[in-house]
């Protein structure tokens, strides 16, 4: 058990484990918050998650197979039902009463399959963050998942300071004006936010194509971190002077960009992302083109973040120097730490210390 200081994520939270379409009758192995899981769909279509290690000799159950709703270990054929209880053992008439694997609370909502790695008694489905844009007919789009070899907090840092767009994404969404525009950080109990407007500026190439109107634009970025691992971006552009800063975005184009870096191990994460737009919602070719463009942009982020993780590992005694622009990421890390600190005693109870 790592010390409280080394803990980088709270355990008592809903984490996105997979896109809805990733979970099927084929067994899916995922490691969420250092817990190895196997995910699958039951015959009734609902998702289930069990610990991915057979009670008998720890072989990953994800290497076995499904029979009905039961998982059959690929080594000696032990079977486990969806609550993790063993229902069959080879060459014996009885079943060892203590034989079970841990089952994890699962909720499927807003196109994601969420799991709760901590104390199951606290796994209230009402605590799943509201990403209701996915069900809202005004918003259309799709996304993907990329495995990133980095601490999930580096992905959050990257999103909470979008001045990096100027340097990392110069050919698509970044420009000089963005890096120099003033920003305002704020925080709440479980959130941290950064607000930035670039008024009367040249639109970067990606946004110019989305807006498809000539002239300068007012550009907004409202970045919201929802502890412990979601960042939603309310971003867009409107023709300069068309009233967007005053609240009228009708002449512009808006996106909600959903970023979910779920901690896998301490130094890796699953990066789920999705771009939802409020224009040309029926144009499925556009959905694909935005997803492909975003994939390229995200690849640039991943390169930087993975290089940063490697550099951190090569400099174990060293820490970041933070700048004023890091206020958003520091508030976000601060909110994460508050959740970790709050659950420390309960966590000790769970692991039996």
């Amino acid at each position: 058990m790592s010390s409280k200081k080394d803990q980088t994520f709270p355990m008592n939270a809903w984490y996105v484990a997979a896109w809805d379409a990733e979970v099927s009758r084929k067994l899916l192995a995922r490691t969420i918050c250092e817990k190895d899981l196997v995910l699958y769909r039951k015959l009734d279509g609902t998702a289930a998650a069990l610990a991915d290690a057979c009670w008998h000799r720890l072989v990953p159950l994800s290497a076995g197979r499904l029979e009905g709703d039961e998982l059959v270990c690929g080594y000696h054929g032990l079977r486990f039902n969806t609550s993790g209880r063993c229902t069959h053992m080879p060459s014996q008439e009885t079943i060892n009463p203590s034989a079970c694997v841990k089952s994890y609370p699962v909720v499927e909502r807003h196109r994601f399959v969420w799991i709760w790695p901590g104390d199951p008694a606290q796994a209230d489905p009402a605590l799943v963050p509201d990403l209701g844009w996915f069900e809202d007919p005004d918003w259309a789009g799709d996304g993907r998942m990329t495995e990133v070899r980095a601490d999930y907090r580096l992905v959050i840092d990257n999103l909470m300071d979008l001045t990096h767009e100027t340097y990392v994404h110069a050919s698509t969404i970044g420009n000089e004006a963005l890096a120099e525009a003033p920003f305002k950080p704020s925080y709440g109990a479980k959130t941290a936010s950064i607000t930035r407007w670039v008024l009367d500026g040249e639109p970067p190439p990606f946004w110019a194509a989305q807006l498809d109107k000539p002239g300068l634009v007012d550009r907004w970025q409202y970045i919201h971190f929802l502890a412990p691992s979601i960042v939603v971006l309310d971003v867009g552009v409107a023709p300069a002077g068309s009233g967007a800063p005053q609240g009228d975005r009708s002449q512009g184009v808006s996106m909600w960009v959903i970023h979910v870096p779920t901690p896998s191990r301490l130094d890796t994460c699953y990066y789920f992302w999705c771009h939802l737009r409020n224009y040309r919602q029926h144009d499925q070719g556009l959905t694909r083109r935005i997803m492909d463009a975003a994939g390229g942009i995200l690849r640039e982020d991943e390169d930087v973040i993975e290089a940063q993780q490697r550099a951190m590992e090569r400099n174990p005694g060293r820490d970041f120097n933070n700048l004023n622009i890091d206020a958003g990421s520091l508030w976000a890390r601060n909110r994460i730490q508050a959740l970790i600190d709050a659950e420390a005693p309960a966590l000790l109870k769970v692991v039996g210390i």
Partner: protein
């Protein structure tokens, strides 16, 4: 990138008064053998029983087996010097390995060193090192009175005519513009001293065609234009008022009161602890180097880690806005 804090337990072997307001401390810490000129250590201090730390420049290593620092007693400060002065030989002391944010380059054509008062401490070993390497160096050292010129003898021996002292009591002041103008265009300036001195030098330097990267300075944010005194602040978005004692920083007093404020460097350099000023009557004693002189005049923000009210009334706002509503349901 910087070093993570690592603390060594050590013993204070001697404490000697070297001027009316400066004591020299020799610390036996076998883990620390050497340090770069200009580097400092952090020492754990206790203010009203609460642990805190202060940074002190390393002025020497006795026979490579210890650490020597010098501490000026500042009665109207936050209490670090009073704690240090209370220690007697044999005391246990906790310190970090030397670190340098004030590194000496060795490839400059010419060096001008400027020190004011206790600001001499990081400069001493820079001067000695440059002399021993035969570099063209000039040290201008100012103090209030002649008996406050700590280490004058040691410097005189190392630098001879390359040392010039300026004693305010004797009406001798550094002509900063002249000193800077006579430095070779590619020369470097290293300085440490009171905020006023450093600001004056920065102003002259930026007004010239000299590259700002050749101006090096170090600040621990402990000096301002006014003595530290108690004051109170209203926090408009939280609807509370907080008293700031004379020996606590605004940042520490706010965090004692449960007010959440970001911070990192805690010496007025990074700007993370800047708080929005909603209303102000009187005068803010800005002690940071994050904001420009123009921004200090405007006083739209105050750096909570070092800056204080000199007099008057202050209303600020923190970043707390509560959790936003992101989706408006139809």
């Amino acid at each position: 990138m910087r070093n993570l804090d690592q603390w060594y337990e050590a013993t204070l072997t001697s404490s000697v008064q070297i001027t009316p307001t400066v004591r020299q401390f020799t610390i036996d810490c076998p883990q620390i053998a050497t340090s770069a000129p200009g580097s400092h250590i952090n020492v754990r201090v206790y203010i009203d029983g609460r642990p805190d730390h202060r940074s002190y420049s390393v002025v020497g290593h006795p026979s490579e087996g210890g650490v020597i620092i010098a501490v000026k007693y500042l009665p109207q400060s936050r209490g670090g010097s009073a704690y240090m002065w209370s220690l007697a030989a044999g005391a246990r002391i906790w310190l970090t390995p030397p670190a340098s944010d004030f590194e000496l380059s060795f490839n400059s054509a010419e060096y001008l060193l400027l020190a004011g008062g206790i600001g001499i401490t990081p400069v001493i070993r820079m001067a000695e090192t440059l002399m021993s390497q035969g570099k063209p160096v000039r040290l201008l050292y100012a103090a209030r009175s002649r008996d406050e010129l700590a280490y004058a003898g040691r410097l005189q021996e190392a630098l001879a005519h390359r040392l010039e002292v300026f004693v305010a009591d004797e009406e001798r002041f550094i002509d900063l513009a002249q000193a800077i103008n006579s430095l070779a265009p590619a020369g470097e300036l290293y300085m440490c001293g009171p905020l006023g001195l450093m600001e004056a030098v920065r102003a002259i330097w930026t007004a010239s065609t000299r590259d700002i990267s050749r101006l090096h300075y170090e600040t621990f944010g402990s000096s301002g234009r006014h003595p530290a005194k108690a004051f109170s602040v209203q926090i408009s978005n939280l609807g509370i008022e907080v008293q700031i004692p004379q020996d606590r920083s605004l940042l520490d007093a706010l965090s004692d009161a449960g007010v959440q404020v970001l911070s990192d460097c805690r010496r007025g350099e990074c700007g993370l602890c800047a708080l929005e000023v909603v209303a102000m009557e009187g005068e803010v004693d800005h002690r940071d180097v994050f904001f420009s002189p123009e921004q200090h005049r405007e006083t739209r923000f105050i750096c909570a880690c070092v800056s204080r009210m000199a007099q008057g009334r202050l209303v600020i706002e923190t970043a707390y806005e509560g959790d936003p509503v992101l989706r408006t349901l139809p």
